[in-house]
Amino acid sequence: MRFVTQMQVYMVKQCAKVGDATILLCHGILKFFTNKRNLSTLVTEIYFMGVMSLPLIMTSAFFIGMVFTVQTYYVLQGFGAADQVGLVLAMCVFRELGPVISGLLFTGRAGSSITAELGLMKTTDQITSMQLMSIDPISRTISPKLIAMIIALPLLTMIFNWVALIGSAFVAQGLLGIDSGTYWSTVKNGVFFIGDVLPGLFKASVFALIVGLVAFYHGYYGVATPSAVAKNATKTVVQGSMLILAFDYILVALLGYA
């Protein structure tokens, strides 16, 4: 009986946390438009989260494209369909690998840094001092970052998709001897923008919101001590990654891939 009561208390606390995080996220989106200086901050944040993430995203995409092509090629060869490797790779990347892996990498790079930055601001009373200066910290610190995430992650996903295809083509044509025309024509004929590319980008936008939800919650509401900041950054990566994978399934089911 005591266990049940404890579980109930725990569940209520968790629901309250989700509620707090969701309210923070909604304020973050709505308050973006309350300060015109947010536009210039947005450009800086997109540069930090998007442009500075490019080396990680592009390197990962290139090697994932190459590895996936080699693995798929030998399986397809058994069915006499080795020339379809480009199509298989493209479908996987545009629908699944692109948004999910970009989301996971983005969580590790941008999500953890946001949590650490907000945590440090809280530890050093910078958030309090903003409030005391009549400056809304949600509007000036969270809003531009959140909008930057929603813009940057789909763009990074698009770049991931194309770099993975290039990596795949490099291996398929250079090492596996697949004709360039065959490779690209299967991709062109088999991948559709509305059916394959757009849902992937939509998923990336949802993943950006999820990363934002977790990162801002742990940064803004987390305990403000140096060790807690490090733990919160870790929590952001772990919880953000798990939520991305869970929501990937939910979105796939909703979007009709299942």
Binding site: T124, Q126, T128, L132, M133, I135
Partner: protein, 282 residues
């Protein structure tokens, strides 16, 4: 010339709602946190234009009192009236409007490490008033000149000493010419020379900006020198109030203990309340 310029406020201050001789009035304020009573039925009147010192040993609720007056905390009982505003009832935009008329120097300075000294001081002006650069720049330089750091405008907070960082934080706190200035332990962690320099600076800013200043401090000698009125807090109560010359000479054992720095068997004990010693050691 510089001092005249300092008085020539660019900023239309948020005017108090009611004309009163009091800058702040706390009536029967009680505040508890995590089942421990921090402030118990406190009554404090802070007259306009004066330097008020709120003193007392650590953990007696001095910073809590400041947080109540700045709207960071809400009391469980009582009224907190500051510059004509019922701060305990303010929220959202009204609270932010109220805070435009006050300045706060925090213990940690809370400077933005990624911004230069100039940008740190200019930050409230840029964010709140959106002033053009040609107006903003001389205002910021003027305030930095007042604290003796005009030559450091391109430096970053990480490059400053503790005393310099405190002066930058002070310049930022007064950049919008507040009517009421709160200092949360401004001398903590400073060397004796910097302490005296900061004390004179606070006094000079107070006089030239026509502010009311509330200083939370442990420095008996300094408050004796600059404060017009002193409140000594102990165990969540005001145990003494009045001009420093009277308060610091008070025969009250609690006041004597704080002023003279005794521990002994006097009222404020060394030990935090705990269970019987037998339970832990025998």
């Amino acid at each position: 010339m510089l001092e005249k310029l300092m008085i020539a406020n660019f900023n239309a201050k948020v005017k108090p709602k009611k004309m009163s001789s009091l800058a702040a009035h706390l009536q029967n304020v009680s505040f508890s946190h995590s089942n421990s009573k921090i402030l118990n039925n406190i009554c404090i009147k802070i007259p306009k234009g004066k330097i008020i010192a709120i003193m007392g040993p650590s953990g007696t609720g001095k910073s809590t009192l400041l947080k109540l007056m700045t709207g960071q905390y809400r009391p469980q009982h009582g009224k907190v009236q500051v510059l004509g505003n019922r701060v305990d009832l303010l929220a959202g935009k009204k609270l932010y409007d109220y805070r435009k008329s006050i300045g706060v120097l925090l213990q940690q300075n809370a400077l933005f490490n990624g911004l230069t000294i100039f940008e740190n001081v200019a930050y409230p002006l840029r964010e709140i008033y959106d002033l053009p650069e040609e107006i903003l720049s001389p205002l910021v330089k003027l305030k930095l000149e007042c604290v003796g750091l005009r030559g450091a405008i391109d430096m970053y907070p990480g490059m400053l000493s503790g005393g310099m960082a405190r002066r930058v934080a002070l310049a930022r706190a007064v950049i919008c010419d507040p009517s009421l200035m709160f200092y949360d332990e401004p001398f903590t962690g400073q060397d004796p020379i910097t302490r005296v320099m900061l004390m004179r600076l606070i006094k000079r800013l107070h006089d030239h900006l026509n502010m009311t200043s509330v200083i939370i401090s442990h420095q008996v000698e300094m408050m004796n020198e600059i404060a017009d009125e002193v409140f000594i807090l102990m165990k969540g109560h005001v145990v003494a109030a009045g001009p420093p010359s009277q308060v610091f000479k008070s025969p009250d054992p609690l006041v004597r203990q704080f002023v003279d720095g005794f521990i002994g068997n006097r009222e404020i004990g060394f030990h935090h309340p705990s269970q019987s010693i037998n339970k832990d050691f025998l």
